[in-house]
């Protein structure tokens, strides 16, 4: 597999405080790589260092096999970035904004027109071309922000938390658009603190915390890292301590928590543990309103690895 980005031993300090600590990873051609980590874990700092916007203390960064630097214009011409903060000009319309940023790469007027139109299609802003950014809702503004970053059809795209504070409709539109970009051949680095997004979007995930990589792999591989293999939740009224103790001693059960009339049971191994649970309740003639089984989430993985929640 061809490596598009190679990051080796990247360390970045802000006034002596490490924000990124000896980070090394690669990004493969054609994949969506997720950088998953809580706020302040160093995702944006990593991206800005890779882009050579920031001075970093040490490290080696190669993009498309060449050393990345501020004057590596041939590399820069193939990169598109969607920064965490919206970066558009309030004075320009939706169309003009995309055209301005696209025109920094695409000089041919007709080609540019086509590209801008494609970008508008991708993010679904066709009807808003004459709007000013101030007139757009939060979700639409985020979509414009994305369109400005990708209109020139770059081979490599960085998206830094592009869905923060957007409505569900815009979020779906954005995630769909990103998949389309990948399907059209782009390599994508996607940072987020939403594990759900990573699960549906990313081919590979790097979990970072406090500037360090704590796990890498596909979503499945990461979930297998978890000690918990299954979680069963039962909504049941007034379960007595006697039953809870009995459940504790059932096969494969790892932990049991009962609070607010909800029973949480985790299993370290096994499949279809829910069947046994249903049987247990049937035998004891206990009525329950709801029972469901879940695989562990990335949040559980994160919790086990760091002892804290991904989102606080």
């Amino acid at each position: 597999m061809k490596k598009v980005i190679e990051v080796n031993n990247l360390t970045k300090e802000y006034k002596g405080v490490k924000a990124v600590d000896d980070l090394s990873f690669d990004v493969n051609e054609g994949e969506i790589l997720g950088l998953l980590g809580p706020n302040g874990s160093g995702k944006s700092t990593t991206i800005n260092s890779i882009l050579s916007l920031l001075n970093y203390k040490s490290g080696n960064i190669k993009i498309f096999g060449k050393k990345m630097d501020t004057n590596a214009y041939d590399i820069k011409s193939k990169i598109g970035v969607v920064f965490q903060d919206v970066a558009v000009f309030d004075e320009l319309t939706v169309y003009e904004n995309i055209d301005y940023f696209c025109g920094l790469y695409i000089t041919d007027k007709n080609k540019r027109k086509q590209y801008v139109s494609d970008a508008l299609d991708l993010v679904g802003l066709k009807e808003f071309t004459k709007f000013r950014p101030k007139q757009l809702s939060g979700g639409l503004l985020r979509r414009l922000n994305i369109a400005c970053g990708i209109a020139h059809k770059p081979k490599l795209i960085f998206l830094d938390e592009p869905t923060v504070a957007v409505d569900p409709q815009s979020r779906n539109n954005i995630l769909d658009g990103i998949k389309k970009l990948r399907d059209n051949g782009a390599t994508i680095v996607y940072t987020t603190h939403y594990m759900e997004e990573v699960e549906i979007l990313c081919d590979r995930v790097i979990i970072i915390d406090k500037g360090k990589i704590i796990a890498t792999g596909t979503v499945d591989e990461l979930k297998n890292l978890s000690n918990i293999k299954e979680k069963v939740t039962v909504e049941v009224l007034d379960l007595s301590d006697k039953y809870i103790e009995e459940i504790m001693s059932l096969k494969n059960v790892d932990s049991v928590i009962y609070q607010n009339n909800e029973l949480f049971v985790t299993y370290k191994k096994g499949k279809n543990n829910i069947v046994e649970m249903i049987d247990y309740f049937k035998n004891k003639r206990i009525n329950y309103s709801k029972i469901f089984v879940e695989r562990p989430t990335l949040n559980d993985v994160f919790l086990e690895l760091t002892g804290k929640e991904l989102r606080d």
Partner: protein, 385 residues
Amino acid sequence: MFLHNFIYALKILCKNKVLIFWTFAFPIILGTLFNLAFSNISNSEKLDVIDIAVAGENINSNFKESIDILSNKDNSDKLFNTKYVTLNEAKKLLDDEKIVGYIYNEKIVVKKSGIEQTIFKYVVDEINSKINMSSSIFQAEISKEIENGNYNINYELINKKVNDQLNTKVSLNDTSNKNLDYVMIEFYTLIAMACLYGSLLSMTCLNNIMPNMSNEGKRLSISKTKKVSLILSNLCASYLVQLVGLLILFTYTIFALHVNYGSNLIYIILLSLAGSLAGLSLGVVVSIKFKVGENAKIGILIGIVMFWCFLSGMMGITMKYIVDKNIPILNKINPANMITDGFYSLYYYDTLDRYLLNVISLIVFSLLLLVISILNLRRQKYDSI
């Protein structure tokens, strides 16, 4: 690429209402207000003759001669009603407000500040400076003769020489009605203000393209456009917008307000270009050196420019007079005063020495500020953004 950035920088500037207000509309509004204020003066007070007194006995004859010309009732531009009195009488006249002020030992004494007092001060100051200049030229001529070993001095000849020199070096406003055109200075400060408000444009442009100042700047910085091209295209755009604003202001003040800038167009343009350059570089420095938000930078710039314009006489020429007299260095390094004084000397003097000094000062001022900023402008990577 340069053109693409330039065109969009123009669009972004022109659609920024706050900027357009300060650089285009505000000077015109202020000019209109000045005009309203001054047209009242010229209708009522301007034609009034100012009552003054000259106190004491030993009055310099040159001085007296000048005052007399200005007090001559046959003179159509008669400015003063002059009484010759003793010091005590003069004091009493002033106390009773029978006179605006009096002259004693070639210095003026006034009680209040106002338009009449200002004119009085200004004219006496000019008379004094003319006398000082003529006497120093006179002395220089005499010592030249003596150095040449000529002790038989022909005073009449020297007198003629001195007058010739005075006429070529400075043609002071004597008894011409230019005396009363002191209001022109206020309009010159208006042009100075407009030039320096160009700093708002260059500041905004830089803010837009520097990655450590705005998100848009980050986006532009990671594009394949070279930084120098980005900066130059943006500064050119801001300079152009600034000059268009200035052109509108000139047109308005000349045709609607009848302000006289002298007749040499080339020199007026040169001074405007230099003044605008000073504004541009001021914006660059403030943009780079002040680590605050854009609105705070706008506030800082407006504050600086208004203060400089105030010192150079915008809110009353008395201020310029006071600064020029007491802390001349302050106005020597004040770009608003360089611009104002440049127009003033273009209008009042036939020679260009003082005008050129102002133009050169403006260029030096601009280059100095730009040199201070160059390191920051060239920086490619940042410790934090």
